[in-house]
C-alpha cells in the first residue's frame, strides 16, 4: 500500500482533514502541537486503498525539535504528501510547501481554512498558485468537509516538479514572489474575536481575563460534575442497580468468598457503594458515579477552551512564573491536560524543547497535578467534610508543583529555552467537533479506567483474603503511623495508588479516618508515585535515567509534605 503523508505547519487543521479522509477521529484543538505522535489510518483513492499518516505539524524540514525529527524520518518513507496550507497565513506556510517540493516527493496542496481567509479579506488566485508551484492546489475547509471530495479526486494528479534544493534565503525570496502574485489583501476592521484575542495578552486586561477564565472553568467543572452526580448518576444507580445488588447479596452467603469479592462487606446490613468494596458494588460505583461525571464536565470545559484558542494566551501570561521553574509558559498546556489524565499531559510535554524542561514538566505534573479521577474522589470524600479541607489539598499540591519545579530548576543541569510559539486566532468552536472530541475522550476513559478499576478491586479483595496486606502494613508502619499519622492500613491504599488512584482513594474511605488524616492521605496519594499508566508513559518519554530522577523527586517530596502536613494539621 502506498503511504501518504499529511504534512503542514502546526495548527493548520491537519487532524481535521485526517478525520475527514479516513473516518478516524483524532483529537484536534486550536493550538500548535496537538498531534505529537503520528496517527495513521487508511483511505480510499478511487479503487486504491492507501495508508494516510497524520504527521505532527512542523515549520521546518531541517529537524531539531523532537517533532521535527519525526517528520524528517517519515518523509523518507512516504510515497506522496498532502501539504495542508493555512490560507490565512500563506507566506509562512508556502515556505514549508517549497521545501517539501524540493524533497522530491509528489505533492498536492490543500489550501485549508479557506472560509476564514475569505472572512479576513484575503483572496488567493488558486489557479495561479497552482501554476507557480507546479502541483495541484485544492481549497478546503477541514472542519466542515468542504473541498475534501475535490482533494481526493485530484490526488492522482499529485506530482513533483523537481526543482532542486534551494538555499533558505532563496526560498523566502520565492515565497515572497509567489505570495505577491497570487494573494490580495483587503483592509477591514478587526472582528470582535480578534479584539478579544489581543485584549487577552495586554498588561491591563490580560490577567483579569485569565483569572475570570480559570475561575469560571473550575466553577463550571464543579457545578456540572456535582449536578450530574447528585441529580443523574447517583439516583439512577440507587434506583436501578441497588435492588439488583441487594437481591444478589441475599442469594449469597454473607460470609462466603464470593460475597466478599462481588458485593463486599455489608454495613448495617446494607450495601454502601463507597465502602462495601465489591467488584459489582464499589467497582462500578466509583468509575461510573463518582468519577465519570467529573471527567465528562472537565473535558467539556477543556475542549471548549482548547478549540476557542485560549490556552496559548494563558501560556503567554504565565511565562514569567513558569520560567522560575525552568520551563516556559507553554508548559501550562501539558499541565492542564494533566488535570484530566497525567498520561496525555506527559505526552504533551514533547512540545518542550530541552531534556531538562521535559524532565521538570513531567515530574511536576506527576507530583502536583492530580488527575480528574483522583480529584473527583477527593471532592466526593473530602467535600462532605468541608470545602476548607479540599482547599488544603489543592493549595498544598499547587505549592509543591511550584516549589519542586523551582528546586529542580536549580539542581538540574541543562538549558531552558525561551518561549517561541505561535498564538492561534480565537475561533468559535463547532458543537459537532466539540461533541466528537468529548465522546472520544469519554470512550478512552471507559476503555482504560473501568476494566482496571474492576480488576483492581478484585485484586485488592483477593490479597486481603490472603492477608498479604497485613505483612505490608506491619513492614511500613513506622513511616505511615509516625511520619504521616495514619493508621498502618493506609499504606495499602497508597500502594494500590500504583494501579489506579481513584480505587486507592476509595480504599481510604473504608478506613474511618479523621478529616485531617484524610487530607494527609489524599495529598500523599496524589504525590507519592504515579499510577502504572503514567509510570509507563513517563518511562517511555524520559528514558530510564530521568525517570529514576523523577521518581526520587516524587517519593522524597511526598515524604516531606506528608510529614509536614501531619505535623501542622
Amino acid at each position: 500500500m502506498r503511504k501518504i503523508l499529511l504534512v503542514g505547519n502546526p495548527n493548520v487543521g491537519k487532524s481535521a482533514i485526517f478525520s475527514r479522509l479516513t473516518g478516524i477521529h483524532v483529537v484536534a484543538s486550536n493550538y500548535p502541537g496537538t498531534t505529537v505522535e503520528f496517527t495513521q489510518g487508511t483511505m480510499r483513492i478511487g479503487q486504491e486503498t492507501a495508508i494516510l499518516i497524520d504527521v505532527p505539524g512542523t515549520y521546518d524540514l531541517d529537524a531539531t525539535l523532537n517533532a521535527e525529527k519525526i517528520v524528517a524520518d517519515m518523509l523518507e518513507q512516504g510515497d506522496m504528501a498532502i501539504n495542508v496550507v493555512d490560507a490565512t497565513n500563506l507566506e509562512r506556510n508556502l515556505h514549508l510547501t517549497l521545501h517539501l517540493i524540493e524533497k522530491n516527493i509528489p505533492t498536492i496542496v490543500a489550501l485549508n481554512v479557506w472560509d476564514d481567509a475569505k472572512h479576513k479579506g484575503i483572496s488567493i488566485n488558486v489557479q495561479k498558485l497552482e501554476n507557480m508551484l507546479g502541483v495541484p492546489v485544492v481549497p478546503t475547509v477541514g472542519v466542515t468537509g468542504e473541498g475534501i471530495v475535490d482533494l481526493v479526486a485530484r490526488m492522482p494528479e499529485a506530482v513533483n516538479p523537481s526543482v532542486g534544493e534551494r538555499a533558505e534565503e532563496e526560498r523566502w525570496t520565492e515565497v515572497g514572489r509567489i505570495a505577491d502574485a497570487v494573494q490580495s489583501l483587503e483592509h477591514r476592521h478587526p472582528t470582535l474575536l480578534e479584539t478579544l484575542g489581543d485584549a487577552s495578552v495586554k498588561p491591563l486586561t490580560g490577567m483579569p481575563i485569565a483569572i475570570l477564565v480559570v475561575l469560571g472553568a473550575f466553577t463550571i467543572v464543579r457545578l456540572v460534575g456535582e449536578g450530574l452526580i447528585g441529580h443523574v448518576f447517583e439516583p439512577l444507580f440507587d434506583w436501578l442497580w441497588r435492588p439488583l445488588m441487594m437481591q444478589l447479596s441475599a442469594s449469597l452467603h454473607p460470609e462466603s468468598f464470593l460475597h466478599a469479592m462481588v458485593i463486599g462487606r455489608l454495613i448495617d446490613g446494607q450495601i454502601d457503594f463507597v465502602q462495601s468494596f465489591g467488584v459489582l458494588t464499589t467497582g462500578l460505583f466509583v468509575p461510573i458515579t463518582m468519577v465519570l461525571p467529573y471527567v465528562l464536565s472537565f473535558y467539556a470545559v477543556l475542549g471548549f477552551l482548547e478549540d476557542f484558542g485560549y490556552l496559548p494566551r494563558l501560556a503567554v501570561l504565565l511565562d514569567n512564573t513558569l520560567h522560575r521553574m525552568g520551563i516556559h509558559g507553554w508548559a501550562i498546556i501539558p499541565t492542564l491536560l494533566g488535570l484530566g489524565c497525567n498520561v496525555p499531559g506527559i505526552l504533551a510535554t514533547r512540545i518542550l524543547e530541552s531534556r531538562k524542561e521535559r524532565l521538570i514538566a513531567a515530574t511536576v505534573i506527576s507530583v502536583g497535578v492530580p488527575c480528574a479521577a483522583l480529584q473527583a474522589m477527593i471532592l466526593g470524600m473530602l467535600g462532605k467534610r468541608g470545602a476548607g479541607y479540599v482547599g488544603i489539598v489543592y493549595l498544598t499540591l499547587f505549592v509543591v508543583w511550584f516549589v519542586l519545579g523551582s528546586i529542580l530548576n536549580r539542581i538540574l543541569k541543562g538549558e531552558s529555552p525561551e518561549l517561541i510559539m505561535e498564538v492561534p486566532p480565537y475561533r468559535l468552536p463547532g458543537m459537532i467537533a466539540l461533541t466528537k472530541k468529548l465522546w472520544m475522550r469519554m470512550v478512552g476513559f471507559f476503555k482504560e479506567a473501568v476494566p482496571i478499576v474492576l480488576l483492581g478491586i478484585l485484586g485488592v479483595n483477593f490479597l486481603y483474603f490472603l492477608k498479604v496486606f497485613d505483612v505490608l502494613a506491619e513492614f511500613t508502619a513506622p513511616v505511615v503511623t509516625t511520619l504521616f499519622g495514619l493508621p498502618k492500613e493506609a499504606v495499602v491504599a497508597i500502594a494500590i495508588g500504583f494501579l489506579r488512584k481513584d480505587v486507592a482513594a476509595g480504599m481510604l474511605a473504608t478506613l474511618d479516618l479523621t478529616s485531617e488524616q484524610l487530607v494527609v492521605a489524599a495529598t500523599v496519594l496524589a504525590m507519592f508515585f504515579p499510577c502504572v499508566a503514567t509510570f509507563a508513559v513517563l518511562w517511555k518519554e524520559l528514558g530510564t535515567a530521568d525517570t529514576l530522577k523523577s521518581i526520587v523527586a516524587m517519593v522524597a517530596s511526598s515524604l516531606v509534605v506528608g510529614g509536614v502536613l501531619n505535623a501542622i494539621l
Partner: protein
C-alpha cells in the same frame, strides 16, 4: 524619526521593521521558520509586563516570544 530599538521597547500596537536578530543559530532558525526575519514588518500586539513575554503579529500570524529573545530582536520604528 527612525529609531532602532529592541522589540521589548516597542509600544503595544506600534509597527516596525526587523533589522537584526541576535541569538544562537537555533533560535534564529526557529524565528525564521515562523516568519520573523530581517526586513519583515512586525506589529506588537501585547506584552504581559515590562519584563515578560511579548506577542507580535507577523504576516497573518501572532507569535509569542520570551523576554530574552524579544530583547535581542532589533526593530526600526518611526517615532
Amino acid at each position: 524619526m527612525v529609531e532602532r530599538i529592541p522589540l521589548t521597547d516597542m509600544k503595544v500596537r506600534e509597527a516596525g521593521k526587523v533589522v537584526e536578530i541576535f541569538g544562537g543559530r537555533e533560535v534564529q532558525r526557529r524565528l525564521r521558520a515562523l516568519g520573523v526575519r530581517p526586513r519583515v514588518k512586525v506589529t506588537k500586539v501585547g506584552a504581559v509586563s515590562s519584563r515578560g513575554p511579548v506577542v507580535i503579529q507577523v504576516g497573518g500570524t501572532q507569535i509569542s516570544l520570551g523576554f530574552g529573545i524579544s530583547y535581542r530582536i532589533v526593530v526600526e520604528v518611526n517615532r
